[in-house]
């Protein structure tokens, strides 16, 4: 499904390049559930952002479903990722001014989906995540676990093939974290490819494959 070849990313600190990622080669097949692990500063989030097309690599090739992402213009890339990729964040990143319903609806709006269709899709997912009763609340009125649930619902609303999660349970207590991970496993079974970044061994176990990063390199595969 996606193919990273010799991906490197660096920033210049005091005139010298400091590598965030160095010569990453990674192939992910559809239906996998991958956990990326590694200490702070090992490049986990950077790798995730590059896979999510939010960030550019300085070097290397990236193929998504066979399409060469590294040669695309920003607009094409944005077209690609908004159709195929969903994001979940550690800090949830819900828009405070929008209700639960509207937050979930946001990606659909940017995909020019008709209002009636949007309504049906949002209703569907609210139902599935059992948060129908919360749909008119604002994010600040929810607990952390509930907010992350909304965040996942928003990431899934457009039916992406790939779900990227950056420490999805980092701000949650252990019970809430477990629930979220169970949900991920469930989603993976239904066919969603998942790549998550995590610090926790326990959470990493939910995945089908673990990738360890150290100083920008893949440690062992």
């Amino acid at each position: 499904m996606l193919d990273l070849k010799h991906i490197s990313k660096w920033v210049n600190v005091g005139g010298k390049p400091t590598f965030l990622l160095k010569d990453i080669n990674l192939t992910v097949n559809a239906g996998e559930f991958i956990s990326i692990m590694g200490p702070s500063g090992s490049g986990k989030s950077t790798l995730l952002h590059i896979i999510g097309m939010l960030d550019d690599a300085n070097e290397g090739e990236y193929y998504f479903n066979g399409e060469a992402v590294h040669t695309m213009k920003e607009k094409q890339r944005s077209q690609l990722y908004k159709r195929h990729i969903g994001f979940v964040f550690q800090a949830y990143h819900l828009i405070d001014e929008l209700t639960v319903y509207e937050n979930i609806e946001t990606p659909l709006i940017y995909q020019d989906i008709k209002s009636s269709e949007r309504k049906a899709m949002v209703a569907d997912i609210l139902d599935r995540f059992q948060i129908v009763g919360k749909k008119d609340l604002f994010p600040t009125q929810l607990s952390g676990g509930q907010q992350q649930l909304v965040g996942i619902a928003r990431a899934l609303i457009a039916k992406p093939q790939l779900l990227l999660a950056d420490e999805p349970t980092g701000n949650l207590n252990s019970k809430q974290g477990e629930d979220i991970m169970e949900l991920f496993r469930q989603l993976n079974k239904e066919g969603v490819t998942i790549i998550q970044v995590t610090h926790s061994e326990k959470n990493a176990e939910y995945g089908t494959r673990i990738i360890n990063l150290l100083d920008g390199r893949i440690d062992n595969n």
């Binding site: 989030s45 952002h49 999510g52 939010l54 960030d55 607009k75 944005s78 990722y81 908004k82 994001f87 964040f89 800090a91 990143h93 819900l94 828009i95 405070d96 001014e97 929008l98 509207e102 609806e105 946001t106 990606p107 709006i109 940017y110 995909q111 928003r154 457009a158």
Partner: protein
């Protein structure tokens, strides 16, 4: 999608009440000014729109270069021009000359001041005026015909039919009403209240009732030429024709080499807001004034938009996360940009409503009388359209920068760590905006204070003649003597004098004075006045006496009184020397100097002392000046009025206290009020901007302040820390504004012959006032944060 944008915009407005208030209130204030200017400009542009063939209509104007080499343009042309143009050239289809005349008109018992003009017979065809009654083909053909405007006809004849009635114009004789105009379909710069047949002019000139101008090429200023080109002719042909005529004239004229004039063609639809012209006819508006109004309104709007920009960019740290999320959800930059633009447009709408309310509040107040009348405030369709367009413009102006900055955010950066985000519009930019705003406000304050002081000084200054407890009454020569006698009998009246124009406003005119025949003439102002004027107005004599009594049978001028300023150009050494000297005025009249007056400001305080000659010629006085004892109350005017009613039962009494009129004329209440209003707006907007910035800064530094307090900082050190940066901005603004304001005031005061100096006090008052308001704004906000318990701010992070 748009609905979603609007929803979030409204929620943001509601959520951040303080910021919304600052934005809307500031924009609203500035919009009030802008709306006023829109109304005024629109009114000005609505002139001259109803005439039937505007593309083929032209006016001929005159370019003059005088002996001193100064160029100026006259809106007027000599009367014979059109005859020459129609006989020698084949370009003109029809023409109308407008030859204005001002004076009094009488019908029955009514005697009114009127402003008619002589006009040619094609008047109706050319300008598209229609008649309510009368025949437009013949109404202005036969001599002594007059067509009245609807209003004037009602003034004279009320509801009864005006047709066929006779109106007699002072000095011109009787005119028969041959038509009454319909209310015209729009506004026109031709706003005479009646039109008389041009054929009358020849007869009047023959009878000596009008100066012979009909065949006079030398009189460039008495009439205006409008014409309609033939369909096959064009402007170039017309221009060539009139140049041809003026070139011929210059060859024949003995003026050639000294003074030069040529005729030019002005398209009719270019008359409104054209360049400034001398002897302009009607209300053509002033391009400079309109431009100045637009610039002022725009600067104020810009200042309010600065606030919006400033606050939005400052708050962009908060909005940054939202931008990131939206971009991750698939939004492209243009979509985010549009969202923020819509937000600023939505803010502009309540601002427009507020501006409209403020405008309605200020119109109708004393100070705004010159700006607009309440009747201008009934919006019609096109005004509403203008307002809408303007609101969109204001919204865009305010929103475009923040929208551009916010939409540029990189989602990875803003979502990772907000504080690392580099704002395109950095801190210095925002500080710069505050400095600009306060500089503007300070300059405006200094200028307004200077302006007010100057006019206050002029209103209360001693002009060199008595102006208190004096009544001025406009009165025509007929029956003047009787009224004068009546008034002298009233108890409390200490003197009555007659004069041609009220001193302190203007001179009656200019004349040429020679010390001997053939000597180089000296231009002097003059009044006609009688002997009592000196005692009535307390004009002190330096030498000689007032006009000696002379027999009523002698109508010719014999004596004059000069002011001291007039002596030097006449090469007379001292006042004593002047008395008894013979001089020549009006080129040929020989008169004797009876006395010399101490200088006084007869043209008002704006002008310096100017050579003046008081002349004595019965029958030329237009005003009675009544001096009263100082103990009389203001109601004495009604006593004078009843004396007037005995003499002139049908005419309105227009007597005034001279001091009131002087104060009204010199204090420029309207302008001071307007300037004050504008200054108030500028200051308010900049204080609002400052308030916003202070609130924002304290909010974002809450955590830092908490840490500092835990480390042991006192309230006082924190207050100093937070207010220092703002005070620095104000000081910078002061450093720029004080010299600029001083220079501006200095150059402005140079217009006046009698002026105050801009004291240090004006600068100090303005600056410390500004500082005080700003400090209050800063301190009230900072105090709350500085005294807050650090535990709360640290926990909430």
């Amino acid at each position: 999608m748009i609905r979603n944008y609007i929803k979030i915009a409204i929620r943001n407005l509601m959520r951040n009440k303080t910021f919304s208030f600052i934005n809307i209130f500031g924009l609203g204030l500035s919009m009030a000014v802008c709306l006023l200017v829109i109304i005024r400009v629109k009114d000005q542009l609505s002139y001259d729109k109803f005439h039937p063939q505007p593309d083929r209509m032209y006016r001929i104007i005159t370019d003059v270069t005088n002996k001193e080499g100064n160029d100026f343009t006259l809106a007027s042309t000599p009367l014979p021009l059109v005859d020459k143009l129609t006989t020698d050239f084949d370009v003109v289809e029809s023409y109308v000359r407008i030859y204005p005349w001002d004076g009094n008109a009488q019908s029955g018992v009514k005697d009114l001041a009127v402003h008619p003009a002589f006009a040619d017979g094609d008047f109706f065809k050319l300008f598209g005026y229609t008649l309510q009654s009368g025949n437009s083909h013949t109404a202005l053909t036969s001599p002594n015909s007059i067509v009245l405007s609807k209003q004037l006809a009602e003034k004279f004849f009320g509801q009864s039919d005006a047709m066929g009635q006779v109106i007699s114009l002072a000095n011109l004789g009787d005119f028969r009403v041959t038509g009454v105009l319909n209310q015209p379909a729009g506004k026109s710069h031709l706003e005479r209240d009646a039109y008389m047949s041009m054929s009358t002019v020849a007869q009047l000139e023959k009878a000596g009732k009008l100066t012979a101008n009909l065949e006079q090429w030398n009189n460039l200023t008495s009439a205006y030429t409008y014409l309609l080109l033939k369909p096959q002719a064009d402007q170039h042909q017309l221009t060539r024709a009139v140049h041809n005529i003026s070139d011929q004239l210059m060859k024949q004229s003995k003026l050639s080499g000294k003074e030069h004039f040529s005729f030019t063609v002005q398209p009719f639809n270019k008359i409104i807001l054209s360049e400034e012209m001398h002897f302009s006819l009607g209300n053509t508006g002033s391009r400079g004034k309109v431009l100045a109004e637009i610039v002022i309104a725009f600067v104020i709007l810009l200042s309010a938009c600065f606030n919006y920009t400033n606050l939005s960019v400052a708050r962009s740290l908060k909005r940054g996360k939202e931008v990131g999320v939206r971009k991750v959800a698939g939004a492209v930059r243009s979509q985010v940009f549009v969202q923020f633009i819509i937000e600023s447009l939505i803010t502009a709408i309540p601002a427009l409503v507020l501006g409209w309310l403020i405008l309605n509040l200020i119109v109708g107040q004393d100070f705004s009388q010159e700006m607009a009348s309440a009747s201008d405030l009934t919006p019609d369709g096109s005004t509403l359209l203008w307002f809408t367009v303007f609101t969109l413009f204001a919204g865009l102006l305010a929103g475009v920068l923040p929208a551009w900055a916010l939409s540029s955010f990189n989602p990875v950066e803003v979502l990772k760590n907000l504080s690392t985000v580099k704002l395109f519009l950095g801190n210095n930019f925002r500080k710069g905006l505050i400095v600009v705003q306060f500089t503007l406000s300070l300059v405006a304050t200094i200028f307004t204070l200077t302006f007010f002081r100057q006019f206050d000084y002029m209103a209360n200054a001693d002009p060199g003649f008595r102006k208190d407890h004096i009544i001025t009454i406009p009165v025509n020569a007929n029956g003047q003597g009787v009224l004068k006698h009546e008034l002298e009998q009233l108890s409390g009246v200490t003197g009555v004098a007659a004069i041609s124009t009220i001193p302190g406003k203007d001179a009656t005119g200019g004349t040429r004075v020679r010390s001997k025949p053939g000597a180089e003439p000296i231009g002097m102002d003059y009044y006609f006045a009688d002997a009592a004027i000196l005692s009535t107005m307390n004009l002190p004599l330096l030498a000689g006496t007032t006009f000696p009594q002379q027999a009523d049978s002698i109508r010719a001028e014999q004596y004059v009184i000069l002011n001291e300023r007039a002596l030097q150009p006449l090469h007379i050494g001292s006042p004593q020397e002047a008395v008894g000297k013979t001089i020549w005025i009006d080129d040929s009249v020989q008169v004797q100097v009876a006395g010399v007056l101490q200088n006084f400001f007869h043209r008002g305080m704006t002008n310096p002392y100017i050579p003046l000659v008081l002349r004595n010629k019965p029958g030329t006085y237009n005003y009675l000046i009544v001096s009263t004892s100082t103990s009389l109350p203001a109601t004495f005017l009604t006593t004078v009025e009843s004396a007037w009613k005995k003499q002139y039962p049908a005419q309105p009494f227009e007597g005034r206290w001279m001091n009131d009129e002087w104060t009204a004329r010199n204090s420029a209440t309207g302008t001071v009020g307007m300037l004050g209003f504008l200054t108030f707006i500028t200051v308010t907007i900049s204080v609002l901007g400052l308030l916003g910035m202070v609130i924002y800064t304290t909010e974002t530094r809450r955590k830092e302040i908490g840490i500092r307090k835990v480390m042991g900082a006192t309230v006082a050190t924190i207050m100093t820390l937070l207010s220092k940066s703002f005070l620095k901005l104000l000081l910078i603004a002061g450093c720029i504004a004080l010299p600029v304001g001083y220079l501006l005031g200095f150059f402005f005061l140079n217009i006046f012959a009698n002026r105050i100096s801009i004291g240090i006090d004006i600068l100090l008052i303005s600056f410390s006032g500004m500082l005080l308001i700003a400090l209050m704004t800063i301190i009230t906000q900072i105090y709350q944060v500085a005294t807050a318990n650090p535990v709360n701010s640290l926990r909430s992070e």
